[in-house]
Symmetry: C2
Subunit: 175 residues, 2 copies
Amino acid sequence: MEKGFILWFTGLSGAGKTTISKIVAEKLEKRGCKVEILDGDIVRENLSKGLTFSKEDRDINIRRIGFVAHLLSRNGVVGITAAISPYKAVRNEIREMYENFIEVYINAPLEVCEQRDVKGLYAKARAGEIQNFTGIDDPYEPPDNPEITCCTDKENLDESVAHVISSLEKLGYLT
Amino acid sequence: MEKGFILWFTGLSGAGKTTISKIVAEKLEKRGCKVEILDGDIVRENLSKGLTFSKEDRDINIRRIGFVAHLLSRNGVVGITAAISPYKAVRNEIREMYENFIEVYINAPLEVCEQRDVKGLYAKARAGEIQNFTGIDDPYEPPDNPEITCCTDKENLDESVAHVISSLEKLGYLT
């Protein structure tokens, strides 16, 4: 049986979580892993409709993602999560609760993410059309000791993906 | 890769869903299947805390269970669900939405389930301490064409389990 694990991407909106996680998923599948991406938006639609972006509701959403990622990983699947997951305490709660948890910090300065503004959300947040937007009027708490860090303002997509894969090898999750 | 599927138990509280599903899970694991039981209570705790037992909230809960069972089954895991899931429409919605859906109707008359009253819930419902209790003041809509039916008032546990397993063989999900 393949070894499952939880690959937990965290970072600001626009930092590159979804982009990197998709390519990493493809690479893992090519190596014979079973992979499931639990993207923030898809999870909110299917597991957390009705939840707001308050701290309390965000934490509930993150716990649900953690629970599902755990169900997958303990059955030999790589559960990739790609939600902002801005709060350190609940990420660490997931880390304590479940085995084979690997935190991937997608690190890009707020200015860079805001300039990219892939989904146009920063502009809306600045205009006051969205509240509780991470980085603008809601905090992002970076991890203290993430297993993997990608600095997407300094490295390109290929480099970030290669770094994730080689880190998984070093950590013993890939052979 | 093993073939995953969704084994969807439905029936009244006390009909025997949890008991049968646990033994079926053991039998499937002995045959080399990966199995995950999504029990009603565990799912409510981890995915649906705060939801009530209104029809709307029950349907949301069932859709979440279906989504997770689907994530598991498409990765080669047998996703066993054991929630009452009283409403036909949402069960059929899940059936339409996801592949390899097998409905197992655990059929026992209300009188039998109420007499067993394993969790003491029927007594509370009769006393008015619980509202929206399926079979008492909330409907149970049996499936029209379940793939498998177990009549737990007429067969014992071993017989029910054997019937589920042999039905899975006939349906081509087990070799």
